[in-house]
Subunit: 135 residues, 4 copies
């Protein structure tokens, strides 16, 4: 199974991705993009994207980016993740994950999450974290 | 309006909390607890609580803990949050947020997220972050 | 060699600890404290303790706390560390590190760094991070 | 006074920079680089650059990058900083700081720290954090 097929399979098994209406939009070596519309049920008290939605997309994009550089028989889990929220998320969110440092024991990753409203793209958040392979 | 009433009002306006089935379980000066059951639609690929659910509860508990130490007319937003995931989340999750350092310009917060299965409580995650008051 | 003896030996081999005038002040299972005076050459532009000094003490206390729960033949390295600076550091700094979650593959740690001036103790920083055992 | 002159002046007042043998190597709008040789007194137990040295350079480069986008009469302080250590630091370290999001209340920053040995450049660490302007 190709890395993309494995990732699509894993993504489909994450029920949270369905709940959030998220979709895989790009898979390449060391880079994965995940997107979702800021639906009615995914907001914070002021009507913007909830931080947990932004986190979910960024963490997932980063995790699958790590998976592209791992052997076929392993999964990855998030060890830790740090998010800085730069501006409110609205419209459509696109998270672009990337591998900063592959490794056998740990993979260091990052993700940018963009907010797209009326064709205008704003950086909503940046994430930096660590993934660990599990059998 | 009391701090608790303001927090309950704000919580009810966060549609994400409804989507996640989360509830406010305790509000005290500098301390707020939020809980949710790991429902079917909130899981990762191995069937455990999705990291985004754990993040959502921890971030929300920490944010409302910050709100208890702010003037009545302000809201708070997450500036940044770091999560370390310690063990898989399952059953019922309880996030306990607390203020580490109140401030006029920023409030430093932390949260522990516990996983409760068959009466056994395990620390699933710890979060440390910064909240900013907004008018 | 006891955990404390191994830690004292490792500490002595860290030339940075000598440069910073740091000393080990307590070693217990899962808990280590490290301290230093904010000497003339360790300051930032306003005369307070440089963030790197505060980081150094907190990271070292947390790392050695992790070492107390590892087998005798391994060393630990910092994978990642997050610091929130709460108030200016001055006088004498005492970092108290602790293990949040021991593990064979990773150890999650935290540290509080206190600033002591004229007998008054203020929390200067909190750290949360991950250590990895190395042969 | 130009941004570069203000930064050089501030840098000179940080006694820790002298202790670490650090120097400002580049100042541009939103970007600052700081470097140091891994001198004998700046090492960890295995002889590599101490994490605190890597942190110091990255945090300083990021902080001064923030200063380039602030009004002339303010200084900046680190609110929080997260570092992921990717590979051992040795030889000469060069930290490249950049502004991710300028702001009146907060500036979000990042830095990469490179290790240069025998003309070969390796990414030693990545940092992501928040700076706050102070009068």
């Amino acid at each position: 199974m190709s890395a993309e097929a494995r990732i699509r399979d894993s993504f489909a098994r994450q029920s949270m991705m369905t709940t959030l209406g998220a979709e895989l939009v790009a898979v390449a070596e060391g880079r994965v993009a995940v997107a979702a519309t800021v639906a009615e049920g995914l907001r914070q008290q002021a009507g913007y994207a909830h931080a947990a939605l932004i986190f979910a997309l960024g963490d997932t994009a980063a995790g699958y980016a790590a998976l592209t550089v791992m052997p076929p028989d392993v999964d990855v889990l998030t060890v830790e993740m740090k998010i800085n929220l730069l501006s409110p998320g609205a419209g459509r969110l696109v998270a672009e994950g990337r591998v900063l440092k592959p490794g056998r024991r740990l993979v260091v990753v990052a993700a940018d999450v963009w907010s797209e409203v009326d064709g205008k793209r704003t950086l909503a958040a940046v994430l930096q974290g660590t993934m660990i392979p599990v059998a």
